[in-house]
Amino acid sequence: MRPARLTAIAAATVAAALTAVTGCSQKSAAGGDDVIKVAASDSACEVSRTEFPSGKVQIDVENKGSKVTEVYVLFPDARIVTERENIGPGTKASITAEIKAGDYEIVCKPGMKGDGIAQKVKATGKGGEEKRSPEMDAAVSAYRGYVVTQAEETLPKAQAFADAVKAGDVEAAKKLYAPSRIGWERTEPVAESFGDIDPKVDVREDGLEAGQDLEKDWTGWHRLEKALWVDGKITDREKQLADTLIADLTDWQKKVGQAEITPTSIANGAKELLDEVATGKVTGEEERYSHTDLVDFKANVEGAQQAYELLKPIAVKNDPELVKQLDTQFAALTVLLDKYRADKTTYEFTSYDKVGEPERKELSDGVNALAEPLSKLAAAVTK
């Protein structure tokens, strides 16, 4: 975790916010006639109009089905414009949103599960979003799906870890610690873009600011890591912190779907994951008590690779040589990391305090070999 640093994705959010401010000067076109009616059932999602003027839009939802449903308005890249959950059978709900000109989808999710039923709609007028290629939208949409899934899959694992802490079971908690972090580590730049969550869940002892109290203000995984590995005991304070961790991670899970994600922020996010490895994991600073750095390392690389694979169809057209290089270096780093686990189906890696200086140098070389070309991915996507 890197406090006080504007990540690529956070930067993109700022840019988007500025755009939104400019967009505000546009006239609202909302009015009684402009209401979009959505008739949701267990098997259909009917919209009263597929084209509407941009600006302030009202959507009236009626759930005619037998299941609880939810309705989303999505950008083409699957980012959420607006949403309404928990619309019970036979009930109505009204959603309003500021929608700029462009293509969107309205999605009903009967039972609040799965991909839902989508309808393409269009907001017409000026001041639309910058047109992105369908490939870029596909990449962003898929990456959004990835970060959402990672958050969803992390919560039960984090819960298991928290439960072990609350049960006072030091040994069980130690085993569950590193796996509970994998989803977070895979998508860290996105998580970091919500400035408040990262310091709560992933700050290290030395990351606290002057005036902050170690006992009161230090929360999250690493605080519990120290209790488990250094103190070797669990007090009421740790049990309380386990609940706080789950609450903060739940907050994260709720927010990830709305993160501003662009093709370049995905590319630079991938590079940032390697930066995380280079500055925190290779040195053994991140998991200084548990020495589970290689688990984080692996997760960072996996997250970077996922981001890369999604952008590859775009990058290969603009810079095939770079793609070749990245394929080679991802493969090489994977092979190198596999030296530190006996079974490739698990995340049980060698304890980092058992990894000697020459081996750490080798890992560092591998990271440099990948991170340098990876820093060129954003340009290859933008060209």
């Binding site: 070999a369 060129k376 340009a379």
Partner: protein, 431 residues
């Protein structure tokens, strides 16, 4: 090996300070020619205060210090050319197993070196490109002059290993793995390397920038193994003008081979056509040694003892029994184990090397001792006939050994110069 007397001959004089000389040392005309070619020599050339490299002057004016040393030539610059004030030396491991990738890297390095030695940034420069991507050039040398930057590449023994790049038949016999000399305390993390690049410049930022760029271009194909910063040259290739002092306070480099002494360079430094490895003709061999000095104990040593250890006096630098620094040393007047006496060609069957070392200070060690000494760089035509016999003699008997320790070591075959814009570092070996 911190002293100077390994040059057999008096520094030669061409009698023509402006004439083009070997070793990449440009003439006045050549330097001005670069200015005419549009390179950024700037005020140095405009003001007419161009360094008189050919004349063998180390006393470069402040304005001239910004000048560019030609990159192209029969020999690589940075060997016989006038020694600059600052060094960044880097040794790399080659990570790629693919010969083609290595060749591609050497070509990319050559292009970057050609630009940087002319005072230009690499690639698309340090700013103005895509905002989403890091700039091609890291930018810390933007606005700085070429500062007489020279970049000199060398190939280590590992490159010629069997089954690696198909070069096993091309390893020169004179590129020997050094024996472990008595007293050596070599740190593997500061020794060896498949490739080396010596960056010398008048401005340390320019030298560091150059190595940083090359390291960056190399990532994935090479990894930095170790590097050394140096300041305060301890020998010059223009010994008739000035003799710098080493960290022990003694003048160092009095009798070094002059960069203008073609006969001595051909005899002792440049690999000749019949020497056994055709690809290396016009090149040389480099021995690099990190020599740590026990600074604190040396500083407590009485003056007389210090002078006896070297065999020269501290003030003037004159050999024992003589009054002037450049007086011919009378070796028998020195103590039998004096450094100068043991290092002298007459004691080593004429063994002569060209030294280009720098002082270094890497802060302080954990015991509060200055981590300082001499980063020794010696070029020679054959390591077996140059460094090895001299160091054998010194390691066995030199009284200076009480105050120094060799802690890093590497050897490299240094290819001939890059001839023109189509040529590249290592073409004669890989091409």
């Amino acid at each position: 090996m911190t002293e100077s007397d390994s040059a057999a001959q008096q520094p030669g004089q061409d009698g023509d300070g402006g004439a083009p000389v070997s070793g990449g040392a440009p003439s006045r005309r050549a330097v001005l020619g670069w200015g005419g070619a549009g390179f950024a020599i700037g005020a140095a050339a405009a003001g007419g205060a161009v360094a008189s490299f050919g004349g063998g002057s180390d006393m470069v004016s402040a304005a001239a210090a910004g000048a560019a040393v030609p990159f192209h030539g029969e020999h690589q610059a940075g060997i016989a050319s006038a020694v600059q004030d600052r060094l960044h030396f880097a040794a790399f491991d080659v990570k790629t197993k693919d010969r083609g990738e290595l060749v591609e890297l050497l070509k990319e390095w050559t292009v970057a070196a050609r630009l940087m030695t002319a005072g230009l940034p690499v690639g698309d420069g340090g700013f103005g490109g895509l905002p989403e991507a890091p700039p091609d050039d890291t930018g810390e040398a933007l606005g700085l002059k070429a500062s007489r930057l020279t970049l000199t590449i060398g190939f280590g023994p590992g490159l010629f290993a069997k089954g690696r790049f198909g070069l096993e038949g091309k390893r020169p016999e004179a590129l020997v793995d050094l024996e472990l000399f008595p007293g050596d305390n070599l740190d593997p993390a500061r020794s060896g390397g498949d490739l080396c690049v010596q960056a010398c410049a008048d401005d340390p930022q320019v030298a560091v920038h150059a190595i940083r760029q090359l390291a960056r271009i190399g990532f994935g194909r090479t990894a930095m193994r170790w590097s050394q910063l140096g300041f305060g040259k301890t020998s010059s290739t223009t010994p008739d003008e000035q003799t710098p002092r080493n960290m022990m306070g003694f003048k160092d480099g009095t009798r070094n081979i002059s960069g203008t002494d073609r006969a001595a360079l051909d005899k002792h430094v440049w690999v000749g056509a019949g020497d056994g490895s055709d690809w290396l003709t016009g090149g040389s061999y480099l021995v690099a040694r990190r020599i740590r000095m026990n600074i604190e104990t040396w500083d407590r040593t009485p003056l007389q003892e210090q002078e006896d250890i070297f065999g020269r006096d501290k003030g003037e630098g004159a050999p024992v029994g003589k009054s002037k620094e450049r007086d011919e040393p009378f070796l028998k007047a020195m103590k039998p184990e004096a450094h100068v006496r043991l290092a002298h060609p007459d004691t080593n069957n004429g063994a002569t090397i060209l030294r280009r070392g720098y002082s270094f200070t890497d802060g302080t060690d954990g015991l509060g001792r200055l981590d300082a000494g001499l980063f020794f760089l010696a070029y020679q035509r054959d390591i077996r006939k140059g460094f090895v016999p001299i160091q054998r003699n010194l390691a066995r008997s030199d009284v200076l050994n009480e105050y120094i320790q060799h802690v890093g070591s590497a050897v490299f075959a240094v290819p001939p110069g890059v001839r023109d814009k189509d040529d590249w570092w290592g073409r004669t070996l890989f091409g």
